[in-house]
Subunit: 253 residues, 2 copies
């Protein structure tokens, strides 16, 4: 049984709490929330604290709070030489205060409030400042996920940038697609099966193999027809840049 | 029972054949393939023809061939005043020769050779040049799909452009994500659950609601860190343009 304390009560903390409660090898010692009225479902209210001075001994302290508060909160912890980890893809290991043993416990997924996730398939990206701590963090991660990876700070940075492309930027393209639908009186719902299939294709094909479309085929007449169809400047700029980039891809720009 | 003849033996034609064979209200009269050695699974070989002069009477002729061959092939059909439709999102209704009644039977999905699809959920976008033909095409579509829409040429053009954003461009972002992973020695597989979740989120949230990330939050320090991480010019150009576009979105550019 590994004893875990959570610091934070946001999106990630709440999802971690729900899944830790179902894991047989994990005991949640306490949950810290600076705002004691935050609703933390299913947790015994005696375990919810809002003063760092009330923190009890645990094997791991997981700080799941906004990136820019990690340094300050980790410096306020009233103990030393314990294992303290954050859950961020973007924050460096060294954003954690040096008085404790440091680590990262980064679930590479996008969480939505109220939407349950299956942690078993979520990649858990782990790093510890000293090798002796890795097995502890690994035990916590394998208690909830079958998809656990040792990822150093450089690799995590790369993953975080790549995640911006495949998640934030992709979702923005969905937004532009939605806009085009609204402007032309077609329901965006019609595109949803295509969106799902585009993502699911990656389970059988590499993105390179899966690439299709006018830019890839260098189908100039379709590209011209699309460009003259798009009257919105933002949409048409993005269309041109991505089309050119696909056409030139592999070549030196 | 509606009698359907398919002209073409490519990706779309083969998927349509497989699904028509399972539909109780559809009889496949013939399949035309210019190349008689093309493998067309499950079809009685006597029904496979490679001369237009062998074409028998049918209620609908579905031309599922490359966009730029639709005009020429439809002009070679040795009959008049029958219902002839194409399956393209990009080709206009008028690419079909005027000697027959025209229509469009556009399955809005990306098909992969050998990967079965569930037609029941695929949006079928229908158009006919005369209203009397619409019910015939609708019967064919509802025999295979629960997701049938009357879509005029202008709307189809909009959907096709929007599909480029949510399918071709999105897949290209997956390709850039994959590249970043390869360059930094992390397996691209780690990003796949995130990619799937990003698509699946649209079932509960609008893309606008689902938008997250440093650009959306205007988190300048993360954006700068990402920009200095990306040494590849193409990746960094796309990163900048999409980040700016998300930041300015809604504002006048
Ligand atoms: N969201 C995701 O999809 C995702 C995925 C992977 C990793 N992460 C990482 O997980 C961490 C938490 O993200 P999140 O999405 O859960 O954020 P969130 O939902 O915005 O929650 C942030 C939490 O941090 C607390 N907090 C902020 N500043 C604080 C301070 N100075 N002192 C104490 N508590 C403070 C907030 O408390 P109040 O409620 O009182 O404001 C809240 O509980 C971040 O490092 C993030 O990068 C997020
Ligand atoms: N692929 C998709 O995901 C998708 C989705 C929706 C709609 N569509 C539309 O469906 C249509 C077919 O696309 P596809 O993906 O099935 O194409 P495909 O797999 O490339 O197959 C093209 C077919 O057209 C035939 N063909 C080409 N030129 C011809 C000519 N001059 N005379 C006779 N046959 C000719 C080819 O015959 P050979 O085999 O002998 O070359 C082949 O059977 C297109 O209009 C496309 O826009 C495609």
């Amino acid at each position: 049984m590994i004893k875990v304390t959570l610091i934070g009560a946001g999106n990630v903390a709440q999802h971690l709490i729900s899944t830790f409660l179902t894991a047989t090898d994990i005991e949640i010692v306490q949950v810290y929330s600076r705002n004691p009225t935050t609703i933390i479902p299913e947790i015994d209210s005696k375990k919810i604290i809002s003063n760092f001075s009330d923190l009890k001994e645990a094997d791991v302290y997981i700080i799941a709070i906004s990136d820019d508060a990690i340094a300050s909160v980790s410096s306020q912890l009233p103990f030393e030489n314990r294992l303290v980890v954050h859950t961020s893809g973007a924050a460096p290991l060294d954003s954690l205060n040096g008085k404790n043993r440091k680590g990262v416990f980064y679930p590479l997924q996008t969480f939505t409030k109220g939407k349950p996730v299956n942690f078993k398939v979520i990649p858990m990206c782990l790093e510890t400042s000293i090798p002796e701590d890795y097995p502890i963090l690994e035990k916590v991660a394998t208690a909830i996920s079958d998809n656990v990876h040792a990822i150093n700070s450089h690799q995590r940075k790369a993953l975080h940038v790549a995640a911006v492309f495949v998640n934030n930027f992709t979702n923005y393209l969905y937004q532009l697609g939605n806009e085009i639908c609204i402007e032309n009186h077609v329901p965006f719902d019609i595109l949803k099966p295509l969106i799902l299939e585009t993502a699911e294709k990656l389970l059988t094909l590499s993105p390179k193999e899966a690439q299709t479309g006018p830019a890839k085929r260098n189908d100039v007449s379709t590209i011209e027809a699309h460009e003259s169809f798009l009257s919105n400047e933002n949409q048409s700029t993005i269309y041109k840049i991505l089309t050119q980039s696909i056409q030139n891809h592999g070549k030196k720009l």
